[in-house]
């Protein structure tokens, strides 16, 4: 579990805008993705997610720092041979059919000629494009195109999947389907590194989450750790409020439904608060424990909305 598949050290990527301004999209980023891990890569718009992924794929060269994949320089043909990649907003040739598109990718992925048809048929089945596979992509919806994209990414069952906004444009059913495809990958011991705006997706799939903002890693925690952090305790009591004597770490959330609410970050603090409230003679004290959402957690962490 500990072999690093993706390793990024001090990565900086700068680019020039059309007005010749230099913008540092990624600034000294460090991250590691280990073998068999499913890592969610999240952050607000313009945080540098796509740029980091482009640097990993070799589409952009870093201004400083090193990125390696399988110990090979990022972007090298050898590294790309073992990667399945789904770009953020990809267009596929509208004049080709789904089958022709996949045939092109099969040829470029070095899938042997005799296996090609079989592989393509299986993929079409996997992404549920059966019946539409001989139509030109021109008539495909955004969601269907994304399925073609996923098919080409998982083609040849690569050791590492790098997916940029994997579930964007998919309806809930399709999203669920994609989730299953990725879970299968995870079960097969493959590594997945994906960026997403759908934090539910991240929560359900990831072993670890990396949050970046302003081109830097803000948080890098395992999902287990995060779940603990996200768990919140709300203590309800009838008024009056006792804000002055609150223990450390407790925040007053205001009144609701004739109750005053307090938030406690962990079980110990919560217990302390309940004790304190009882001591102060509060009436009708009760506690509710919540899992909390990743979204709320990050809003609190970086001070603004993630997506």
């Amino acid at each position: 579990m500990s072999t690093p598949i993706i390793e990024i050290r001090g990565l900086s990527v700068t680019y020039k805008t059309e007005t010749r301004q230099r913008i540092e999209a990624v600034a000294g980023l460090d991250l590691t993705v280990n073998e068999g891990e499913v890592v969610g890569f999240i952050g607000p718009n313009g945080a540098g997610k796509t740029t980091t992924i482009k640097a990993l794929m070799g589409f952009r060269s870093p201004t400083s720092g090193v990125a390696t994949i399988f110990g090979l320089p990022a972007g090298s043909t050898e590294a790309r041979r073992r990667i399945g990649y789904l770009p953020e907003v990809a267009q596929y040739y509208p004049f080709l059919t789904a089958r022709e598109t996949l045939r092109l990718y099969a040829e470029l992925t070095d899938i042997p000629k005799q296996e090609r048809d079989k592989v393509i048929s299986e993929l079409i089945d996997t992404v549920r494009l059966i019946g539409r596979d001989r139509e030109p992509l021109r008539g495909f919806s955004k969601g269907m195109l994304q399925r073609v994209g996923i098919a080409q990414a998982i083609m040849g069952s690569p050791d590492l999947l790098i997916l940029d906004e994997v579930t964007s444009g998919l309806d809930p059913v399709a999203r669920n389907h994609v989730r299953n495809i990725l879970l299968n990958f995870k079960q097969a011991g493959k590594t997945v590194f994906f960026s997403s705006h759908e934090l539910t997706e991240v929560t359900q799939l990831c072993d670890r989450v990396i949050l970046i903002d302003g081109g830097k890693v803000i948080e890098n925690r395992s999902m287990d750790e995060l779940r603990k952090l996200m768990r919140r305790y709300t203590v309800y009591t009838a008024p009056p409020a006792y804000t002055d004597q609150l223990p450390d770490g407790v925040r007053a959330l205001g009144a609701n439904n004739g109750h005053v609410r307090y938030a406690a970050p962990d079980k110990a603090t919560c217990d302390g608060l309940v004790l304190k409230l009882n001591q102060l003679g509060a009436r009708d004290v009760h506690v509710e424990a919540e899992t909390g959402s990743l979204e709320e957690y990050f809003v609190e962490t970086i001070g603004h909305k993630v997506s």
Binding site: F59, E78, Y85, P87, A90, Q91, Y93, F95
Partner: protein
Amino acid sequence: MNTTLKIGAIARVTILESVRRKDAYVVLVLGLVIMLGAALFSSFGVQGLEKFVKDIALSVTSVFASVICIAAAARQIPHEIENRSLYPLIAKPIGRSVFLLGKFVGVGAISSVVVLAFCVEILVLFLIFKIDIGVLFFQAVYLRILSMWFIAALTLAMSLVLTHAANVTISMLLVLAMQTFANTILTVHGGLTGIPQRIAEAIYWFAPHLELFNLSKLVVHEYPPVPVWVLAALTIYAILYSGIFLAAGCMKLRRMAL
């Protein structure tokens, strides 16, 4: 071997695109209309005006085939980048040079097919109007096809540094005005001395001499076939020049941030 297959795959898609876009058909039909128009024009007029029919037919071929070639070559890479269809492709284990070469082969092949299709039209036309076809005609076709690959290489390479409009304009100028440009240098040369003369020579040597690949006038005015060494020399020239441009293009594309 694998690289060849991949170049072939990219080329095949490039050709498929042109086939399914159907712009070549339009041009072929338009060309046929013009040629027949010219032929009828002269047949209603005075008999025995083969030169005129040949002139029109060959000019139409050269202009239309060049237009198709330039349009296809200039469009390829900027279009791929703009539509982001490039990313999933170059994420696969292929070099960017393979991608460029695949595009080159695709555009070259389409243009060659267009030239050949025009030739079939011309041959039918010549058959109808009983115009003799000699060795020179096929030499002209060979050089025309060679020049298509040459133009494809130039335009593709330039599409990596120039904007689409600029590229199309410059390529069209190279194709249509190279003759005039080279002639101007040749005319001016004698009147210059010293450094300006050397500069004129340098410009002449540097410019891609597409005008040398045009045997239309010889065909029209019924000249004897061109010596084989000339064809060989032009073939080598085209390969070298295209090679340099493609190599530069590959280097540029490899370093390009996408």
